[in-house]
């Protein structure tokens, strides 16, 4: 336990001193500001385009538009940034050989992997919270009257999917040597999930639902129970992937 905490401290120090934490916070802060900005800007931009004499009646922007922008940013760029940030957490150390000292000092490999996954997850949690609270603040300030349903639920499943992606990344980092190969494999996995979406029968099991249906979830009529299977699927896959990476990392020669 003490080694685990010590290694977490080391990972935290690394994020701070290599400016990665600062970078993540700034980027997610920008996501938070941009989402309501885009929602507010959109009708104005459209009306500029519509000056050519065609009358387009646009609905006034509402809170739902802010969150639509928020989920669009976070499920695409947000997840990409997080996966990129932690794409080298193991591959870089294995490549340089910095773990040799610590392992020969008695640091179990499982501790290394779990501590790294913990730090990545905590960072994702903090970044998501930051972006969400900024968007939430602006939205409440701009459109205080609008009613939104299942908002925290929708953000929570996005958060869960982020944890799943980090587990996918950890798994491939214990298997392949290069950071680039690992990123390509993660991309293939996401592509695979999108392909599975084409089969309606698989639809209700697909973890991808957690990041494609976020806006629909905000509707009062959305049936949250339809998410139960994808949620358990995602949790199950995350655990399996983590166990798999522990096994692969254990077999890996330093």
């Amino acid at each position: 336990m003490r080694a685990y905490l010590a290694f977490i401290k080391k990972e935290g120090l690394e994020l701070i001193r290599t400016y990665k934490l600062l970078l993540m916070f700034l980027i997610f802060f920008a996501f938070g500001v941009m989402s309501p900005l885009m929602a507010k800007l959109m009708p104005d931009l459209m009306s500029q385009l519509a000056l050519e004499g065609i009358e387009i009646s646009l609905p006034e922007p509402s809170a739902i538009d802010c969150y639509a922008q928020f989920f669009k940013n976070l499920t695409q760029m947000g997840l990409l940034v997080i996966v990129l940030m932690f794409s080298g957490m193991l591959t870089q150390e294995l490549g340089k050989g910095t773990l040799v000292h610590l392992v020969t000092k008695g640091l179990p490999k499982s501790t290394i992997l779990l501590a790294k996954y913990t730090v990545a997850s905590l960072s994702w949690t903090a970044c998501l919270l930051l972006a969400f609270s900024v968007t939430y603040g602006y939205t409440v300030y701009l459109f205080s009257g609008d009613e939104i349903f299942h908002l925290f639920y929708s953000v929570s499943v996005l958060w869960l999917f982020g944890l799943f992606l980090l587990a996918v990344s950890s798994f491939f980092q214990t298997i392949v040597k290069s950071q680039a190969t690992q990123l390509i494999l993660v991309a293939f996995c996401i592509g695979g999930l999108f392909l599975l979406k084409l089969f309606p029968k698989m639809e209700e099991y697909n973890p991808l639902t957690l990041v494609t249906d976020n806006v629909a979830m905000l509707d009062k009529a959305y049936d949250l129970t339809s998410l139960t299977i994808p949620i358990f699927m995602t949790i199950g896959l995350t655990i399996v992937l983590l166990l798999g990476s522990l096994l692969a990392f254990f077999k890996k020669q330093l």
Binding site: K10, L13, T18, V100, K105, G106, Q253
Partner: protein, 305 residues
């Protein structure tokens, strides 16, 4: 008690056998020189002892406990210095040692006192820069500090002096001699003078096999030939004497190279005296007469030839 026991160890990478049936032991308070050319299998042996690689067959015991691949408990007895130690460039040496201390499970105040002590020992106590700005020698010294942190019973050093200048080498050898008071040291190198300076025991590894193993003194006695070197001013003088000695029954062998004669005899003292007498009687002026000490280098070349 033996700190390290290696019993008929074999390791293959794919179909290539890197180590074949290696056995040796290291007693406590002994500096064990581990010699071999590059690629002989030295680093592989060390990684097997550390449980970083999995052996195909054979056993390793550290302080009586067997080494298992993966998370081996025996590593708590061992300090390891890799050939090119790599550190986190964003940390200061003190922060790095503290991290290592926490991992080994030292108490808080013990970590602080050990850090002070070791940084002093390796001459980095005034260094507040981050490790990213360190020279190679400084990293090597920090590597030793890191390896000694947990008061190991066995210190494994993989070519610690190879990349350093003479001053840096001397510093590291001194540190190792000091460390010997508390720990046994497995010291791999291909710099033979380092071995002659500090090692008590020597093993030579050649193409995956242990071709020689014993104390430095014994090995020299067993394997070295009794040689005397004669140097003359002119080549024809050397030739002249060679023709005299070749036929002499008391002289085992004579080799001539330019102005030098290498004479092999059975007994250095008696035959040496006899040799001098022969030279005096021949009237050939001699420039140099030297009894060749058996060197590790000669030994090394002989066994790997």
């Amino acid at each position: 008690m033996n700190v390290l026991e290696v019993k008929s160890l074999t390791k293959q990478f794919g179909t290539k056998t890197v180590l074949r049936d290696i056995s040796f032991t290291i007693p406590s308070q002994c500096i064990f020189g581990f010699l071999g050319q590059n690629g002989a299998g030295k680093t592989t042996t060390m990684k097997l002892i550390l449980g970083l690689l999995q052996a195909n067959s054979g056993e390793i015991f550290v302080c009586g406990e067997p080494v298992v691949y993966g998370n081996t408990k025996t590593n708590r007895w061992i300090g390891y210095l890799p050939d090119v130690p790599e550190f986190y460039s964003y940390m200061t040496p003190r922060e790095y040692l503290s991290l290592c201390g926490e991992i080994t499970g030292l108490a808080k105040d013990e970590i602080r006192s050990r850090c002070d002590e070791l940084l002093e020992l390796v001459g980095l106590s005034k260094e507040n820069r981050r490790i990213g700005g360190f020279s190679r020698g400084m990293k090597q010294r920090l590597g030793i500090a890191q390896a000694l942190l947990n008061n190991p019973k066995l210190l494994i050093c993989d070519e610690p002096t190879s990349a350093l200048d003479p001053v840096g080498r001397k510093e590291i050898l001194d540190v190792l001699l000091k460390a010997k008071e508390k720990t046994a040291i497995l010291f791999s190198t291909h710099i033979l003078t380092d071995v002659e300076q500090i090692c008590d025991q020597v093993a030579i590894l050649h193409e995956g096999e242990l071709v020689l193993n014993g104390s430095l003194e014994d090995l020299k006695k067993q394997h070295a030939k009794n040689q005397i070197r004669l140097v003359f001013k002119e080549e024809h003088q050397a030739c002249q004497l060679q023709s005299l000695l070749v036929t002499d029954a008391r002289i085992k062998e004579v080799h001539q190279q330019d102005t030098t004669l290498n004479v092999e005899v059975n007994d250095l003292e008696e035959d040496g005296r006899y040799l001098l007498k022969v030279i005096l009687e021949s009237g050939v002026p001699i420039y140099q007469f030297e009894v060749l000490e058996p060197t590790l280098e000669a030994l090394f070349m002989e066994v790997i030839a």
